[in-house]
Amino acid sequence: MGAEPAEDGGGGVNPWPYILAAYLLAAFGLLCYLVSVSRRTKAMRAQVAALKRFSKDTMR
């Protein structure tokens, strides 16, 4: 089945821009979310570390 050229669903429309658009959009969305969560976690952890350092200093 892979050997012969398959029919286009849209009658001559090039499917690849659509396929690329869908996959790239999904990748972009997923990556954005990943980056957002990572960034927020990093910021939170930095604040935690700062607070720990601060309390350690004040306990001396």
Partner: protein, 227 residues
């Protein structure tokens, strides 16, 4: 506390899975007899939808558990899963729309599944908005839990109503997203991608829950400092 090891392991597995899925979807599986190459979007669209249903099911279960036991972790998992579910649903609808354009000629159709999925998206966007608007965290968790339970229970009813609404007016020949025949190698590609996206969901979930844990630690430290 969830360990970094789990997060890393899931991340690596997810990447491997996604790469395997891409291979299966583009190189292993044949093009569709009717739709041609564009049908390959199915390997993205269907896993995203199915995993989002899984995510919302997790919201449902953890919401019930939270109301029963008031354990903060259940609330964190519910919130995280809802966020990821909304993301996956939105991307699934977008991918489906892009798939629909060359296939049916339109960006949108009031197809039963697409309509139901959009309603699901609206319900859980509402869930996230409710969370954002309630100031008291314990109240927010409780309200969201109730909404999560009711929202999820509503989905089968929504689906039935939309299907009846469509079938009573649709002619028999209605184009739906999906290959004309699900050849075995297509199934392999589909399941590979499905597994990959489940792993990705797991990775995102663990990561997101760890953010909540960091937030708890921060507020705990702040309260100790104030004491």
């Amino acid at each position: 506390m969830i360990g970094r090891g789990l997060e890393r392991a899931l991340g690596i597995l997810a990447v491997i899975g996604l790469l395997a899925g891409l291979y299966a979807g583009f190189l292993y599986a044949p093009p569709d007899a009717v739709q041609g190459e564009v049908q390959r979007i199915m390997y993205l669209h269907v896993p995203l939808i199915l995993v989002s249903y899984l995510a919302f099911f997790v919201v449902f279960v953890t919401s019930i558990l939270y109301l029963a036991r008031r354990c903060e972790r259940h609330d964190a998992i519910a919130h995280s899963s809802a966020e990821i579910g909304v993301l996956f649903t939105a991307l699934a609808i977008a991918a489906g729309s892009i798939w629909g354009r060359p296939t049916w000629g339109t960006w949108w159709t009031w197809d039963a599944r697409l309509t139901t999925t959009t309603i699901l998206l609206l319900i859980f966007i509402g869930y996230l908005m409710l969370r954002a608007l309630v100031d008291d965290p314990s109240r927010g968790a409780t309200f969201s839990a109730v909404l999560g339970i009711i929202g999820f229970l509503d989905v089968p009813i929504i689906h039935m109503s939309v299907v009846w609404w469509r079938t009573l007016h649709q002619p028999a020949s209605v184009l739906r997203p999906g290959p004309s025949t699900v050849a075995p190698d297509m199934q392999v590609a589909l399941y590979t991608n499905l597994a990959a996206f489940v792993l990705l969901y797991g990775y995102f979930l663990v990561k997101r829950v760890r953010l909540e844990e960091a937030r708890w630690e921060l507020s705990r430290l702040r309260m100790e400092g104030a004491a």
